[in-house]
Subunit: 157 residues, 3 copies
């Protein structure tokens, strides 16, 4: 691929994981409606392996949570690429990103965790396209008990 | 009604509950903005009764949670029907569905719970229209302490 | 300013806080995509002070949570005003509002808390424009351990 975003991925040395389809309930990993592309909440997995099972503040540190958030966001991007027939330059804007962090009670550093996803978006798509509105919450449990789930909505062409 | 989706509801033997308006804060059960119809988070109620008060993993099993999710999603569809003047065929796409499950800490089977909502959407609207992007989280509490809340965004005509 | 909404703010005696930009991860306080304006999850702060650090049901009552939700929503509106070059009359609709309440387990009055945000929207924008679809959840933790986070999506012109 020779797109601008693909070149940036190469320059950054960022590799995307395989875009794994959900196996349950006939849901979709991504869904386009009008000009919006919605990516389902992505967990930190790498080609089927899930290295972050547990809570931030118990099994994992905030820094490890940052890495888990980045891995989740790489899965988001992998699905966007698949949705757009491989052409990540069709992303007009990362509209909104949400991070749900699996935490112990009162773990206040949830934004620092989700920064792992937010900073990746800005690195990969650039500030203009990649900077997004964001919401962060610390929750009680996640599918598979993973440490974080990241979802994002994109404006695409 | 003689629509395609209505016929499917009849064939499936699926009955919709009464679409109950929120009683507080002048909020809306649904709200259309452009081509998008947003349905407020729906709880498992049936014509005013709330049979699922409590947490999955404590008062209720995952299978009961599945049933509660399905009931919540039936309320979502009831509101969509009302919003679209009774014509569910005006749904172009179930864009996004989110399930917040009221859980004990570390209850990992939250996706299995929300499948009760997701599978209903696919049954009722068909795979093409009904399959959606999804996010699931396990949370600490819910309005009325119900077991689950399901919200969904629709593309409509 | 001489707009309709500005006049309503004056008549209500409602003062907006300073619209504070996020300091982390190059994210945005608001982001417009097509006709939609997404405001990042806002916490209860007033020009940099954060008077609501803690949980509803422990450090704070439901009524204090209501006040915190209202303060969060004032920050939402402050950002909308900035996004729309000061002209709040460009809001066509408050499409969706979500409130994540930092709670102790089983705190069921989360809707009563988020009403502080919802009622403000209706006061400020009027019933027609301000009434919105809504989702509410009680969560384990929040950024800075604030008591609530409110996000909202707007249809704008």
């Amino acid at each position: 691929m020779s797109g601008i975003v693909e070149k940036r991925l190469r320059d950054l040395g960022v590799e995307l994981p395989e875009a794994i389809e959900p196996k349950v309930a006939k849901i979709k990993a991504y869904n386009q409606a009008g000009s919006f592309l919605y990516v389902s909440g992505q967990v930190p997995q790498w080609n089927g392996e899930m290295p972050y099972i547990g809570k931030i503040g118990r099994e994992f540190t905030v820094q490890q949570g940052y890495d888990a958030a980045r891995m989740s966001a790489l899965n988001v991007i992998a699905h966007v690429k698949k949705a757009l027939d491989g052409d990540l330059d069709r992303v007009i804007k990362v509209a909104k990103l949400k991070g749900y962090v699996n935490v112990t009670q009162d773990l206040a550093e949830v934004a620092a965790v989700v920064n792992g996803a937010s900073e990746l978006m800005v690195e990969v798509f650039g500030q203009e396209i990649g900077a997004h509105a964001r919401t962060v919450a610390g929750v009680s449990s996640m599918p598979f008990n993973v440490a974080i789930e990241v979802e994002a909505d994109f404006l695409v062409t």
